[in-house]
């Protein structure tokens, strides 16, 4: 299939459809509404389920219902809407049914604004609801990557019977880039053995997150942790640019990584040995690889479109013995490459100075 | 009047007495014995009144622990079970 010029939100919706999404439930919220609108047009055309719910609370519980029936199901929202979905997320996690969420993040807290932001890092990676679990969280930085990760999200959700989040910001949702959509997949003809379809001739199936005894709940949590450990091992994704000889590494994802990418290229023209480490899976977070880099690289910079959320994971990864600084713009402002360049130049001067003194 | 019989699943019975209140013949009462859950289950008394198999006890039972049978007058009883099965 040839490349087309595609808008992020629309590309994601169409990729989900081609990945076999059979049901979509959502609620309008900027800046992801085009995704819902595309679904409203395409899903009925294909004889699949689209429903605009009365709230994000209802939408996530409709997702829970359809997920319990064993179909590929998704919703999409933006930060305040994801906050409302926390209840359902926790129940879905506790029931181990697969479901896919897209969060086109905007600035917060509160109603905040509708501008591009990475304000949900903590809310999606640090359990996304009460209880001991993490969803898989994937963060694309181009529209092609958003398409590819959307397809992967459904596969991972099914594989691990887990929640998969794809997080992006309003910029990727709203921008257009040439990208190639995947071919349309055949829908499965059978539901998984655990799905609620009416018991027919088999024993009844139950989908529930309640385990009243302390020990049964502890046992379930142990199983859940084992599954998370497998995911942590198998589903790490990241990208690197000029890290081989870098003496200063920027860590950034999504649109912030694009900005950092521009800055890194320009700084390399000034012979500043800077590199870019881009986590693609925010959970599991690539602690180990960053730790390996920290064995050699003395200075790191976390660039985020918030006041500093991922930086805590970066710190955990690189340890206490290396420099770690932060540059970010909260409130829905996309940082400029020039700002990142200024920050890196200042850090590099410090680093060189320190090297001379030592 | 038809003669009936009730079978109580005594382990399931919680002794709530709703069936006793519902019984028009007044032939149900609580046992002096306890079941394994500590409830005194209901039982059918041998009584001057007789159970008619009206099943109102079962209608009132929250624990679905009552099975009700009703005697078929012998002149109407047919030899073949399949024919007799029609309610």
């Amino acid at each position: 299939m040839a490349k087309e010029l595609l808008k992020g939100n629309v590309a994601i919706a169409e990729a989900a459809i081609r990945a076999g999404c059979e049901a979509y439930f959502g609620y309008p919220i900027t800046p992801q509404t085009e995704l819902l609108e595309h679904m409203s047009k395409r899903m009925p055309e294909l004889g699949r389920t689209f429903l605009q719910a009365e709230s994000e609370v209802a939408a996530v519980n409709m997702v829970y219902g359809a997920a319990s029936a064993g179909v590929r199901v998704m919703t999409s929202s933006s930060s305040p809407g994801i906050s409302l979905m926390q209840e359902g997320l926790s129940y879905i996690a506790g029931s181990e049914v697969p479901a896919v969420f897209v969060d086109v993040m905007r600035g917060g807290p509160g109603l905040g604004n509708i501008q591009p932001s990475q304000s949900d890092y903590n809310q999606v990676t640090k359990t996304a609801g009460h209880g001991d679990y993490h969803p898989i969280v994937l963060a694309p930085s181009t529209i092609q990557e958003a398409i590819d990760l959307m397809v992967l999200s459904f596969d991972l959700a099914d594989k691990y019977r887990t929640i998969v989040f794809m997080v992006l910001d309003g910029a990727i949702g709203q921008m257009m880039e040439p990208a190639e959509l995947p071919p349309m997949r055949e829908l499965p003809t059978e539901r998984p053995s655990w799905a609620l379809t009416g018991k027919g001739n088999r024993d009844k199936n139950i989908v529930t997150s309640i385990r009243l005894g302390a020990q049964p709940l502890a046992d379930f949590n142990d199983i859940l942790q084992e599954k998370l450990a497998v995911i942590e091992k198998n589903e790490l994704r990241y990208d690197e640019l000029y890290t081989d000889d870098a003496e200063l590494v920027i860590v950034a994802y999504g649109t912030a990584a694009r900005v950092a990418h521009t800055a890194v290229k320009r700084l390399r023209e000034e012979n500043i040995p800077v590199g870019l480490f881009r986590p693609i899976s925010l959970w599991p977070f690539p602690y180990q690889r960053l730790g390996e880099l920290a064995d050699r690289v003395p200075t790191f910079l976390s660039v985020e479109m918030n006041a500093g959320q991922m930086i805590h994971d970066v710190r955990e990864a690189v340890g206490r013995d290396v420099e770690l600084d932060f540059f970010g713009r909260p409130g829905g402002i996309i940082p400029l490459p020039e700002e990142v360049e200024d920050k890196v130049r200042a850090m590099w001067r410090q680093q060189e100075l320190a090297a001379q003194i030592n | 009047m038809a003669k009936g019989r009730v079978v109580i699943d005594v382990e399931r019975c919680k002794g709530c007495e709703l069936c006793i209140q519902a019984c028009p013949q007044d032939v149900l009462t609580l046992s002096d014995e306890f079941n394994s859950k500590g409830y005194r289950p209901v039982f059918l008394m041998e009584h001057e009144n007789e159970c008619t198999g009206c099943a109102l006890c079962a209608v009132a039972c929250p624990d679905a622990c009552i099975t009700v049978y009703r005697e078929i007058p012998q002149k109407k009883a047919r030899p073949a079970p399949s024919a007799a099965a029609a309610d």
Binding site: F25, L51, A53, G65, I206 | L18, A22
Partner: protein, 271 residues
């Protein structure tokens, strides 16, 4: 349905002497319920199971249980079951029904779950004419959390969170769900029945059957509100609690058909 008990006669020919009049419905699981003695949840469960048996839909039924005393209801039915978040059963049922259009999806919800935290979900399921059936248990109290005031608590009723009796000036008025939902075009069947004696229990079962038939015919949203007792939290014997339903709840919550669409009336007329 009826099975026969046999007595072996002297000539070794089996002769039926009694017939089965009532047995535990097949759509109920063997599991013993955790409900308090005399709690009418058990009656409501049994009626639903009897209806599933009679309609022959046990194999395609899916129950969505609520949060409240009936949180474990899926353990007591031998049908596929899910456990929703508090109040969200109609939303979860919507998801299930939309992707399983041939199944029979029903929620079983108490008054805290449906009338308080879940009022938006049930209203919008009705607004959409969602082809699900809602069994609504109104016992005028929060049972599982130990007897707090519910939206359905009647004026003056003492609960653990209205110790002086419900003061409607401060806490609002009892909520009439069957009437409220009957006003929505997507609702095809909305009635209130009571479980306080055998005559009313039989009427309640008929209503539950019609509600499921409405779903089977694809007509829209159906709900049966059942006035129920909570002997433990009301501090009464099970039999006194039924009297309280009759004497205190029925006057506040009149029994009746608040909405029955013509398609269902005609069907009833033929019978």
């Amino acid at each position: 349905m009826a099975t026969l008990a046999f007595q072996q006669s002297e000539d070794k020919v089996l002769k039926p002497i009694e017939k089965l009049v009532y047995e535990r419905p097949h759509a109920l699981d063997e599991t013993h319920t955790h409900y308090c003695p005399g709690c009418t949840h058990g009656i409501a469960h049994r009626l639903v199971a009897e209806v599933l048996d009679e309609l022959g839909v046990q194999e395609k039924a899916i129950l969505v249980a609520p949060v409240g005393c009936s949180v474990l209801a899926y353990n007591y039915f031998d049908v596929d079951g899910a456990e929703a978040a508090h109040g969200r059963a109609p939303a979860m049922a919507t998801g299930l029904k939309r992707v399983n259009p041939d199944s029979v999806v029903f929620t079983y919800q108490g008054d805290g779950d449906l009338a308080s935290i879940g009022i938006a979900e049930v209203i919008h399921a009705a607004v959409r004419g969602e082809k699900i059936t809602v069994i609504f248990i109104n016992n005028a109290i929060y049972g599982m959390t130990g007897g707090q005031m519910a939206p359905t608590t009647i004026e003056g009723q003492v609960t653990t969170s209205s110790p002086l009796g419900r003061d409607v000036a401060a806490t609002g008025f009892p909520m009439h769900i069957a009437e409220l939902l009957s006003g929505l075009p997507g609702t095809v069947y909305s009635v209130r029945r009571s479980l306080h004696d055998t005559r009313h229990i039989i009427q309640a079962k008929k209503a539950i059957k019609i509600a499921f038939e409405a779903q089977l015919q694809g007509l829209g949203f159906s709900i049966v509100e059942l006035l129920s007792s909570c002997p433990t939290n009301w501090g009464m014997t099970p039999t006194d609690a039924l009297d309280w339903v009759r004497d205190s709840m029925v006057p506040q919550y009149p029994l009746g058909d608040y909405k029955v669409v013509d398609e269902l009336k005609r069907k009833r007329g033929r019978k």
